[in-house]
Symmetry: C2
Subunit: 382 residues, 2 copies
C-alpha cells in the first residue's frame, strides 16, 4: 500500500514510517522538521541522540535496500501539499504533522494561536488536497483521548447513542478538551467529520492515549535509527519523564493529588494500530473513530511503578507532589472504551517492568545529556 | 453599562450599537470594515444604500448628542485588541466580528481557511485580552443554530444531560455543523468553554437563528442610519432574498425540496436579546448558551408566505425548486428549545405579513440597485 506519513520525522511518525516500510508498504515522509526547531526554541533535547532525517532515511536504505521518500515542507503551504499528493498518489495518509504538546500551546497567546492555526490549517489543506487529488484515499489522523476530557460517564469510541425525550440519534461524543492544543484536535475532528459528510472523504480519527516507551524493533536496529526520547516538561510524557528523573536521582514529580487517570499505549502498539487502520479503511463518507490506547493508569500509579522498578536497579527515588501547573480534575471517574482496534487484531504490549527497566537504563546511559532545568513542567495554565 | 461591539458596522452589529446607545449604555464599535470589503470582492451590494461608518456615527451624534466610540482595526492584531480593551475597559463585549456566511466559506479552500483562521484567531485574541485586561468582563458571542445541524433529537440550549450506562453528566450538546463557517463557530464555542474552565472567564454563547428583517426603530430614524439589506446568494438570508426576488418579478428560488427547517429571528429581537444577555451576565467560569431565535420555519413555508403577501402588493411570483447547492437534509426532524431568553424578558416579534410587506416595499423602492446575477446561490458545497 502507498502510505504517506505526515510528520514522519517525529516521535510517533518515525517509528511508524519504519514499521510500515518493514511490513512492505511503499512509504514517504512529509515533514517540516518543526519538532527539531521546537527543541532549539525551548533549549531542550532528546535524551538519546537522534540522527538528522536525511541520515535516518539513508541508514534505512543501507540496511534494507528500501527507499523512503522524503518531502520537506509545511502543510500550511497548499501548493506543496497538492504537489506531493499528486506525485505520490497515496492510498493512505497518516497525519501526525501537528503541534502535539499541551504545555507548548499554553506558553502564551502566541503559542496558543500558533498551535490552533498550524493544526487546523494543516488539516484543512490535507482535506482539500484529498478532495482535489486523491478523493478515494483514506486519512488516518492522530487525535487524542484528551479531546474527551474527563466526563462523568463512560467514554465511547467517538460517537454515542443518545435517547432524549423519546427520540434517538447517534452523535459525536461531547468533547471537553483541557488545553488549546487538545481543543485544536477537537477542531480537526469537527472539520474531518464535515468533510466526510459533504465530500464523501474517508477518515479514521485515532484518539490516542499518552504514548510511552521510545524504541521499536526497527529503530533499535541501528543507533542512527533511534527514536527521540522526550523527558522535558513541555514535550515529555509522564512515564518517560519519571524514568529520566529516577536516572538522575531526582524526585518523581506528580502534579497535585495524582489521581488524574488517562489511557496509555506503548509506541510499539501505536505503529501497529496505524497499519491496522490502513489495512481496514473507513467507508466513503465515514469518519471512523478508534480510541487508541491499551490500559488506564493514574499518574500516581505510574510514579509508584517507576519507583519500584528503579529500586531494583539501585536507583532510590522519592515521589514529590508538586503544585499542578494545569487546570484539571485530580480525582475523577474515568472509563474509556478501547475495543475496536483489538477487534481488528491489535495484541497489546501492556506496561511491563521490563519496559520500565529499558527506559530507566536508557536514561541512565545518557544521563549526561539531560538538561536538568528542562525536566520540571513550568508552563502554567492560568 | 460600558459595552464594546466587535463588528459594530455589520448587519447585526450596527442596529445593536444604536439600540444599546438609545437605551443609555456607553457603547463603542470595533470593526475592520471587512463586510464592506467582501461586497467589493464579490461585486455585490446592499439593496438599500448605507452610509460610511464615520457618517453613521456622526449622524447619531447629531440626532442624539450621544458619542459612539469608533476603533477601526482587526481582531487578529492582538496589540490593537489589548489597547482598545485597556482604554475602553468594557463591562460587556458583544462579539459579531466574524466572517458569517456559509457560502462565502465554501467558495474554495482559501475562503475556508480564511474563515476559520479569521474567526478562531479573532476569538482567541478576545479571550486572551479579557484574561489579561478585563477578567471580570462578560463576553457575549454570536454563534449560530447551525452549530447543531439537524440531529434526530430535540436540540437543547447548549448542553444536554446524558444518562449512559447508569451514570449521568451534563455535557456540551453534540455539534453537526454544515459548512466550514458553521464549523468555525463550533471551534469558537470549544475555545470559549475551555477559557471559562481554566481562566474563569464569563461568556454567553448565543446560538442565533437566521435573522430576517432589516431596519430597527433606531436605524429607521434617518436614511444615513439605515442598515444593510443583503439579498445576494452569498450573504443574503432566505426571507430577505425572497423579497428582493419578488420585487423583481423573479421566481422565488427554493433549494431542493424546501423542507429544510431552521430557527428564525427578527433583527429587532436580536438587539433586545443582546441587551438581555448583557444585563444578566454569566457567572465567573460559566459559558452560558442561549438559542436565540423565536420561530421555526421551513424554507418552503417562507417562500409561500412571501408569495402570498407579494400578491397583495400586485407582485405576482412563482416558486422554483432549484438544485440545492448545499449538502443538507431536505426533510428532517427539527425541534430546538428557545425558552431562556424569553425567561429573561424577550417579547418576540413574530413574523407578520406587515414585516414581509415592509421588506417587499423596500425591495421595490430600491429595485434599480439590485444586481440580478448576484441573487442566485452559486457556491457549490461539493
Amino acid at each position: 500500500m502507498r502510505i504517506l506519513i505526515l510528520g514522519g520525522d517525529g516521535f510517533c511518525g518515525w517509528p511508524t514510517t519504519l514499521y510500515l516500510a518493514e511490513r512492505g508498504h511503499e512509504v514517504a515522509i512529509v515533514d517540516n522538521l518543526a519538532r527539531r526547531a521546537w527543541d532549539v526554541e525551548l533549549g531542550a533535547n532528546s535524551l538519546v541522540p537522534i540522527a538528522p532525517i536525511h541520515e535516518r532515511v539513508a541508514t534505512w536504505h543501507d540496511l534494507t535496500g528500501q527507499s523512503i521518500g522524503l518531502h520537506l515542507g509545511d502543510l500550511q503551504d497548499y501548493a506543496f501539499v497538492a504537489q506531493v499528493f499528486s506525485t505520490f498518489k497515496p492510498e493512505a495518509i497518516v497525519h501526525y504533522a501537528e503541534q502535539r504538546s499541551a504545555p507548548y500551546s499554553m506558553i502564551d497567546r502566541q503559542h496558543a494561536v500558533f498551535t490552533q492555526v498550524n493544526n487546523v490549517v494543516g488539516t484543512l489543506n490535507v482535506l482539500y488536497a484529498m478532495k482535489d487529488v486523491v478523493p478515494d484515499a483514506h486519512l488516518i489522523k492522530l487525535g487524542t483521548m484528551g479531546e474527551y476530557g474527563t466526563p462523568n460517564i463512560d467514554i465511547e469510541e467517538g460517537y454515542i447513542e443518545i435517547d432524549h425525550n423519546g427520540r434517538k440519534d447517534t452523535l459525536p461524543f461531547p468533547k471537553l478538551p483541557g488545553s488549546f492544543y487538545h481543543a485544536s484536535k477537537v477542531h480537526d475532528s469537527t472539520n474531518m467529520h464535515l468533510a466526510g459528510r459533504i465530500w464523501g472523504l474517508r477518515s479514521t480519527d485515532l484518539h490516542q492515549g499518552v504514548v510511552y516507551n521510545v524504541q521499536s524493533d526497527e529503530t533499535n536496529r541501528d543507533q542512527r535509527l533511534w527514536n527521540r526520547y522526550d523527558y522535558d516538561g513541555v514535550f515529555g510524557t509522564a512515564l518517560n519523564r519519571f524514568c529520566s528523573q529516577a536516572a538522575l536521582g531526582h524526585p518523581l514529580t506528580v502534579h497535585g493529588a495524582g489521581g488524574q487517570t488517562r489511557g496509555f499505549i506503548d509506541i510499539r502498539d501505536t505503529v501497529r494500530c496505524i497499519e491496522l487502520a490502513a489495512l481496514n479503511p473507513a467507508e466513503r463518507g465515514e469518519m471512523r473513530v478508534y480510541n487508541q490506547f491499551t490500559e488506564q493508569w493514574s499518574v500516581q500509579q505510574l510514579a509508584d511503578r517507576v519507583q519500584t522498578v528503579a529500586s531494583t536497579l539501585g536507583m532510590e527515588t522519592t515521589i514529590d507532589h508538586v503544585a499542578n501547573p494545569r487546570v484539571e480534575k485530580e480525582e475523577h471517574y474515568y472509563n474509556a472504551k478501547h475495543t475496536r482496534l483489538v477487534e481488528l487484531g491489535l495484541q497489546p504490549h501492556l506496561l511491563t517492568d521490563d519496559t520500565i527497566r529499558d527506559l530507566l537504563v536508557a536514561a541512565r546511559d545518557y544521563r549526561d545529556r539531560i538538561i536538568t532545568d528542562q525536566i520540571a513542567a513550568k508552563v502554567q495554565w492560568k
